[in-house]
Symmetry: D3
Subunit: 252 residues, 6 copies
């Protein structure tokens, strides 16, 4: 199985974290391709940054998706996920959606632990757009300004664990979701410190991608996830144009 991991941000250090956790989570025979946004911001906290990230995801998917069995959009908030699902012939998985679908099978209500206050509104809207808002009891966040996003795990591990414990004891969370690609891999390090299951976005996305590839349900030819109807376009990059062209991207 071949998975394409798309980091919608420009942070190469975060791509490394993503790839390492994906490697730890994937089945032995799975090959991974990890790519980094050629343009964009250091990390996505807002809707406008997500707009930029979604554009980078399209560019990377159009360039690299062919020959893979599934694609992972490796940022929380899942920029471009529903859009890419229309134009790619293989399963497309997002960190938030995959984490929610995993967490949903481990308990009933969950909390998201996030790396900044600002990021919370975007995460909440993402959860609500999946119809899972009634199961989200809280989003708790670090309050310090972020400096080195690639080193945030080390710098703030204790603070993140404390927030997770509060979410369990004060908010009634059955499951904790550690949110954000910069936290990739932290869940397996801190799980012994927490009294409820802890879910990581990257590993959830990898196991869910594997699950969907195994189900092998085929792609939509009708309905709202079929390829967009043919129509004139202009000025698109070759990568984006390939996504709109029937057969432009081939699954493995």
């Amino acid at each position: 199985m071949r998975l394409l991991l798309i980091n919608p941000n420009i942070s190469v250090s975060v791509t490394a974290l993503i790839e390492a956790e994906a490697r730890r989570s994937a089945q032995p025979g799975t090959a991974l391709t990890a790519v980094t946004a050629p343009f964009g911001v250091a990390y996505i906290e807002t809707r406008f940054e997500a707009l930029i990230g979604a554009s980078a995801v399209a560019e990377l998917a159009g360039t690299h998706a062919s020959g893979h069995d599934a694609v992972v959009i490796a940022a929380f908030g899942d920029p471009g996920l529903m859009a890419l699902r229309e134009v790619l012939p293989m399963p497309v998985v997002g960190l938030t959606e995959a984490a929610l679908m995993s967490a949903g099978q481990l308990g009933r209500r969950f909390s998201i632990i996030a790396i900044s206050q600002r990021i919370g509104a975007w995460y909440r809207e993402c959860v609500e757009s999946y119809g899972m808002g009634s199961r989200l009891v809280s989003i708790r966040s670090l309050s310090q300004p972020l400096r080195d996003v690639g080193a945030i795990q080390q710098a703030h591990c204790d603070g993140l664990v404390a927030l997770a414990r509060q979410a369990v004891r004060e908010d009634g969370a059955d499951v904790i979701v550690l949110a954000g690609a910069p936290l990739a891999g932290l869940a397996r390090q801190v799980k012994a410190l927490l009294p409820v299951p802890v879910v990581d976005g990257v590993s959830s996305a990898v196991v869910q991608a594997q699950a969907l590839v195994a189900l092998n349900t085929g792609r939509a030819m009708e309905g709202s996830f079929a390829a967009p109807p043919a129509k004139p376009h202009t000025g698109l990059s070759a990568a984006v144009a390939a996504l709109l062209q029937p057969g432009g991207i081939q699954t493995r």
Copy 2:
């Protein structure tokens, strides 16, 4: 007052429809700037096409917004609306949101009449994202394949009126929303044929933009619509970079 009208699609004929209806709807002293997407598709029906459109909106806003009092994103589905609202210092209005906020004051439950079956899912998700899903009783759509999007009003006027009547009599709509920039201006032509108020997206956006400019509430300095926190970026166009730069865009 100066309004920037952004057509997120490449159809110059639709830009002309938008500008003409905006002219009919605006107060006498209002100046209009209408711009067309430099890249993209002929019209947006799907989430992926909306991703492309949102990117074009950002490009156009970064280039043209300075010196205007408000910006109108002139496509139904409001591509990029919430994102632009974070980075522009003036009100940003979308056709769908403005139509819903107008329709909401004319009745309780509304139906959307749309130009294609495929477009319905995207519209529904847009309405739900505004928390107005409980007031949407139906989306009814033309079932023929679209040919000339700039001439759809003439070609399908009768069909659209018939759908609207069905929405009133079978679905219980109190208000009809004629959806899609290609239908700009149709509402004022057909209102005598329909038994309930009919709302047009472009005219709603213009009057709502005027309303927000009159309220003059100032922009968010905190909360989830403040400008994104400063952080490294790379590879962005000058227009998009201007949107991220404090003071990069100036209101009039």
Copy 3:
């Protein structure tokens, strides 16, 4: 354009506040008629007081609405709004609904700042009845007993600003709604003190009324906002009977 402003309460001092803010908000050529309830209570805090206020609104509308382009029900909680919309041939706007529709275009989630604890339940039910409950993050209220409702702005300005700041920082409000006709005009005085847009009910109602008049969508002849079916009645005042009589009220 001629607007009728109906104060559903007996407080003449509040009518003056309403009229002054309406004058500041309206377009130059707009004429205003402000009327005060001939019976009722000093200000509405509860459902029963709203029942009385709704009755006064009907009386005033039946007496004064003819010859106006739109009617504003100038109390938060919008007593009688949906009822009047059935029987008046011109747009009818309520302070709460207009404020929500304006606030909804400036951010995603809003808080209401209110003048008494007791008033909160009635406001919440009003917001929920419009389907906007998912966007209301909090209602924060003054806790002191109210004395002179016409002077509450001066007496409690600092407290109201403090509540609004808490709503932004603790509740996550993107927009603040200053609720209650007695606060008419306060928003424009305190907006520099608050980090997010602040919406006032009276000015919102005026600009929304202007917007609806400009849209000129016509009135409902079918559906749930058409005039009530003819049927016997008895004992009604001349004003209320006029509302039930076809053509009893004429728009300008």
Copy 4:
């Protein structure tokens, strides 16, 4: 036990239907007082007519409630119910609410069978205001214009039964609610013709009033159903003023 039955409409023939069904439903020792609106319309189909009816309910309650153990507002849609509950010291029951609370214990999802198309919107909003909208699968209505509201049971019995059967077989209703005081008593006549439990508003209101009197939970001294805070008023009828005066109405 003494129950006050308030008909918010002017139809004396409907008051007779209400009283007869209440008599059939009440415990042997229960005394009934049935009163008819001194002003208003023949029957309530719309929000504006409900506004008038709510005003009549207040007038009648202020005049007649003293000395009763509970009050029944005997129109579907429950005009004035929440308002009266603030000012009366005894339980106040509405036909719709009581029917829903009874139906809710006989099945999960219910349909309302109504006497006119127009009446449906008002009923739906009433059900939704009680938070029970998710359990309402349909409202089905007679489509003929109503003539003699006091004779509608005889004239339309077959049509109403047919609508109820459709609601069970096509909409999935577990319980049928026959709506409207003019149908009082029909449920017990047609229950053998229907395959699911059938609930009548008047009998539900009577048994629920008896249930609440038996519970004897006392009235609210705080919270949103306590009496309105004292404040100036003017121009109110003696009956309405009595409702606002502490101790103005005495339970038995």
Copy 5:
């Protein structure tokens, strides 16, 4: 009238509390049969314990229901309620549902006061399953470990009253529901200490059972509460098999 009271737990002391409060609440001529689970746990706090309790309820209902007019499942959380309603020919009432339906007619928003923290999640899911989640403002619970469940009223009366007051003043509850069969009868003792109506599960269930028996609506022959379609079964106890057999249980 004959009511069967089923305690789904093995605590004979709680059965005594249930029966005593039912006796105080029932009409004079009502006969009560109170039975205790032959297997199970001391009290139900969790979903798994509720599964066991539901099984005991089925066993007891199959053995004892014949000859009664209604059945009360006398544990909060209503284990087995919807299931039993399919197979019993008489009304089946649960403590939670009956308390909510009573509370719903005394105010708009309610809080549940519970005897343990752990029990809260199960209660919340129960309330939400009835579609009443929007009216539940809080669940407040004792935090001490439970020892003698039959003596919890005496041991924790003050703490429970304090929680109820907090629910009114901090959470905005209009009505208090004292939850759990071990609190049967406490409401009538503490109602003078609380500023809003207080609802007890056992007395609510009794008066609601009486109300449903009085309505005499007949049982479902179609829809989702009709008896399960005939099909092979094996290994069931005689009591459970009787529930599945047409005519296996007879109402009085």
Copy 6:
């Protein structure tokens, strides 16, 4: 990896279908134990039958779960799922929940195709209890009475495919869920006949169980999915008692 597959019904032929599809879906090294309910009904269509099935699930889990890595409750409607998740130390997966979590990552809105009309209400309540009701557009069902549940795939394949196509074209389903263990394996046979992805419960449960085992998140020690607090019990079978005993069941 060792999976325990629990058929909550007594139909050995269905257990064989479940095991065969699980074998086709599982990774090569996965060992399967399939067990059949020792008591119960032929197949579950109603809430009461689900109560019986949940009891059988507890019995089987208490007897067989030790030594497995995950447990699959192999009936649609997931009888006992949330309850077992409290008492088992390994992941517990249900057919419905797993299918929804898989379907949720393949599209936005889904339809369930079911084997009987009666079964629909129970399925709908199950979906709603997971908070996914807003994504369910329809349940379509065979209308013929069921005879041989083990042979239903062959007998009704064409009818099921026709229902699925209607769900796509008339209801707007993006994904089809073929519901019920008796349909295990049908999805892979008919997927070429359907225009959208088709999800099977058994294969979804197997791949989701594998995903959760791979995530290895540990079990809840606090919150609402921790083991029930210790308390007296009596009369329980050895299997159920083992589930309540700390360490009574051991993961592999």
